[in-house]
């Protein structure tokens, strides 16, 4: 039996739904991991579909009639750039096991049932409300036909059973974090999601605890205290797993924390190493292997010496964004936050290692290289945004790179082995910098845009939230492009001297933000990482602050803070499909294959976080920010799922079988 042939058959059936799942051969390799479930469903669905209920005949017919598939993307599918993704090892293609879907942070899925030809038929298949208010920033995970969704504070974790109609709750885990945390998070009591490893779901509670939960039972496996929430330190980032280590970091760039990243043992929770973002070389875990590319980052104990005496202790450099990993180089990549306080005149110097991208050995935590994107940051330009790992040719030479859209509005292509900047070009409107010095790797600062205490400075672009904030971009190996939801904003800013008072902010920036030239607050762009140029952009009146999903169907997905969820042609930038949701979108779209082999797209709607903190209502005419929300929306072609329409009667059957004591339909 040809393994490839049966795989291809499976793929074809799966793509076009040419065979319903109960008619698909058990031998389909593509869906091997679903097989046990398939067995459970086989009899049930046959029973429901073709058995006693006559209304099921239409359902049977639908299964047999293939959905017309038009795949214009299959012609003219050349890459724009030749860039490839260094994503291995991926999650299984039908699952979504980590926030970024892979080590390379591509947020790219090989699923292509939903494509440019049929995305216009996407409809809501099912929804789920988690009952909290607060920015819904995390991507759901899908593992073994279970969906896991985490809420903003109080950081509750739900497991939804995708094998049962109605996707019922399997279990909910309530960690009961300290309420103090809620008032210490600068940008809403958010979480950016959960990681899955070794049968455990691992995530950070806002009150500085990391917790691991058994994925099957919902029971806590371990919990470790990582910091003291009363100092203003919180944790909002999504952990990132490399082997048997889970990497976590802190938040609090506006609270004068001492920023760090740490590795914990996946099975025990024990801390294995911690690297601070300021302080001595040993505290920063800088040793003999440390080889920064640029001179101004070479020297001893720069994490102390690039600050006024003692200021590094409350200098922040928190680690609240994304981490990526290159298994060949055995390096992790992440960025540090802005320095504290946000008043630069109070901390003369480069303020290393804030606003810096680090490469570290995950086994030891030792730094390999660092690159400070914004030395002596004056505008709150953190370097925490995602680093997408790609391989591409620059000047004819194949380079292993990372693509990084910084808060400072520069889009970087950086050699990820050495930290050398290969390309740096603004991806959105900015005026703080008059150019980029490729020799030093430092943007040239426009002196007119340097804030000083008690002086009102107008029209500084981008504002504190940057040209792009934490919302992660995505990349496609089919187009070789990177896709990002970016800002088009400026600010008026007045600095105010501040003192460090534990428990309170260490901030000092008084701002008003408004649209940059063009009048639009947001834009969704495609970016060429080889040339450092924008390929196309979709302008949005309101802020675009959602994650991006790229798919093999050549459709890329994003949302807006006024609640539009869109599917866009990855090549032309044409908007092919839009759906207005119940609240603004700052979540991260994902895609997965259900137990029925259908491709689904999922996104949370629930605006909050920095999106609400940072937009002045007066900034846009007629601006009226949507209320918060907490609904997960799951889409499929025509809204079909095994739990909608007539087949929900099968659901009663399933549930009564699951818990006979509660069902009223024991006998059919």
């Amino acid at each position: 039996m040809g393994r490839s042939a049966s795989t291809e058959e499976c793929r074809r059936r799966s793509r076009g739904l040419e065979g319903s799942f109960f008619r698909t051969s058990h031998s389909c390799l593509r869906v091997e991991y679903l097989s046990s479930l398939f067995d459970r469903f086989h009899s049930k669905v046959l029973f429901a579909c073709c058995g006693l209920l006559m209304v099921m005949s239409s359902s049977c017919k639908r299964s047999e009639a293939p959905i017309p598939v038009n795949r214009p993307y299959e012609t003219g599918n050349a890459s724009f750039t030749g860039a490839t993704l260094n994503s291995a090892p991926n999650d299984p293609p039908g699952e979504w096991r980590s926030q970024a879907h892979d080590y390379a942070n591509t947020r790219y899925s090989t699923l292509d049932q939903i494509n440019t030809g049929n995305v216009g038929k996407l409809r809501i298949a099912w929804t789920f409300s988690n009952g909290t208010l607060g920015g819904q920033e995390a991507a759901p995970l899908v593992v073994d036909n279970t969906m896991y969704v985490v809420t903003p504070f109080p950081d509750e974790l739900y497991a939804l059973d995708l094998t049962l109609p109605g996707e019922p709750i399997k279990w909910v885990f309530k960690p009961n974090p300290s309420p103090i945390a809620k008032g210490k998070a600068c940008c809403g009591p958010v979480t950016r999601g959960v990681a899955y490893a070794n049968g455990k779901l691992i995530y950070n509670l806002l009150d500085d605890h990391t917790v691991a939960v058994d994925a099957k039972t919902g029971k806590e496996v371990w919990r470790i205290k990582m910091g003291n929430v009363e100092t203003g330190e919180t944790m909002t980032m999504a952990p990132f797993v490399v082997g048997n280590k889970v990497l976590v970091g802190d938040s609090g760039g506006e609270m004068g924390v001492w920023g760090w990243i740490a590795a914990l043992d996946v099975d025990s929770g024990k801390e294995l190493w911690r690297a601070y973002s300021t302080g001595s070389d040993s505290q920063v875990r800088i040793g003999n292997d440390f080889k920064p590319f640029y001179d101004h980052m070479k020297g001893k104990d720069l994490g102390i010496g690039s600050w006024p005496a003692g200021a590094w202790k409350h200098g922040a450099g928190s680690v609240w964004g994304w981490i990526s990993y290159d298994p060949q180089l055995n390096l992790i990549y992440y960025g540090t936050s802005n320095p504290s306080p946000r008043v630069p005149d109070q901390r003369p110097g480069d303020n290393l290692w804030t606003s810096t991208i680090f490469a570290r050995n995950p086994d030891t935590g030792m730094a390999r290289w660092a690159y400070q994107t914004t030395p002596h940051d004056r505008w709150d330009y953190d370097a925490v945004n995602e680093d997408i790992l790609m391989d591409l040719r620059v000047d004819g030479q194949l380079r292993k790179v990372m693509v990084h859209f910084d808060r400072n509005a520069y889009g970087y292509t950086i050699d990820r082995a050495t930290g050398e900047v290969l390309k740096a070009a603004p991806f959105t409107y900015q005026n703080w910098s008059s150019g980029f010095d490729m020799k030093t790797g430092i943007p040239t600062v426009n002196p007119d845009k340097e804030p000083h205490p008690n002086v009102k400075l107008v029209n500084v672009c981008p504002p504190d939230i940057g040209g792009k904030d934490w919302q992660p971009s995505a990349a496609s190996p089919r187009t070789g492009l990177v896709y990002a939801a970016v800002f088009n904003m400026c600010m008026d800013v007045t600095d105010n001297d501040v003192s460090y008072i534990p428990s309170s902010p260490f901030d000092g920036m008084d701002m008003k933000r408004y649209p940059a030239p063009g009048g639009n607050l947001g834009e969704f762009i495609a970016w060429n990482p080889v040339t450092g140029k924008k390929v196309w952009g979709v302008k949005e009146v309101y802020l675009t602050m959602s994650g991006v999903l790229a798919t093999a169907g050549d459709v890329v997905f994003y949302g807006t803070t006024d609640g539009w969820f869109r599917g866009v042609d990855a090549r032309s930038g044409r908007v092919l499909w839009s759906q207005k949701l119940g609240s603004g979108i700052i979540g991260q779209p994902i895609t997965y294959l259900g137990p029925d082999h259908r491709q689904y797209i999922a996104i949370y709607a629930g605006v909050g976080g920095a999106a609400t903190v940072h937009v002045d209502k007066e900034a846009v005419k007629g601006f009226d920010f949507p209320a918060g929300g907490n609904s997960l929306y799951v889409f499929s072609i025509d809204g079909d799922s095994m739990s909608n329409g007539q087949s929900q009667l099968g659901g009663m059957d399933s549930i009564s079988k699951k818990s006979p004591q509660s069902g009223t339909s024991e006998k059919q």
Binding site: P179, K184, V498, S503, F506
Partner: protein, 187 residues
């Protein structure tokens, strides 16, 4: 002057320790900072006796401690000093430089989770609140907390002390009241 007289009356009625005369003088901007700091302040024990929630089974008069007035209300120098404290103590970091809220709640409106009367705001600053608001009782003397309250009152939100009896039930002066609800309000 009308306003000052009304406040003086309220002060005498509600709180013997507050000297109405000095309150009025302060409100007219006639006293020095030194004089202000020696101004008769509400006793700490009185503010401390104000319950956070409603009193179970208690008669209405026990709520009169809510009517404790801020001796610095409308005092321009105290308001200016309060603004300075608002910046120096990093209040602006949470509640924003314009007081309209950010990490912390909006201070310029009439929605107050823990009460918007002057003594309730005093207690919130003094004792802190569970969702991140620190307690300033060790860091700031009562005199400075009352000046902060005066600054917050000057932002246009809060609840007037003249409405102390009804503020907790969401009543505003001048609202319509159904006869049945009026009857229920009678002792």
């Amino acid at each position: 002057m009308d306003h000052c007289a009304a406040r003086a009356g309220m002060g005498m009625l509600a709180f013997a320790l507050l000297t109405p005369l000095s309150g009025c003088r302060a409100a007219q901007g006639g006293s020095s900072m030194t004089a202000q700091s020696t101004m008769n302040l509400p006793a700490e024990s009185a503010a401390g006796a104000v319950p956070l929630g409603q009193l179970a089974g208690a008669p209405a008069e026990t709520a009169t401690s809510l009517s404790i007035a801020n001796p610095y209300e409308h005092n321009p120098q105290a308001i200016q000093a309060g603004r300075q404290l608002y910046l120096q103590m990093n209040c602006a970091g949470c509640h924003a430089y314009n007081g309209k809220g950010n990490m912390g709640p909006d201070l310029t409106d009439t929605y107050w989770r823990y009460g918007g009367l002057p003594v309730q705001i005093y207690n919130t600053i003094h004792d802190g609140r569970p969702q991140g608001m620190p307690a300033w009782k060790r860091a700031l003397p009562p005199d400075e907390i009352w000046k902060l309250v005066a600054y917050i009152q000057s932002l246009g939100g809060t609840v007037s002390v003249s409405n102390y009896e009804h503020a907790r039930q969401g009543d505003r002066p001048g609202d319509l009241i159904a006869p049945e609800a009026q009857a229920e309000a009678q002792p």
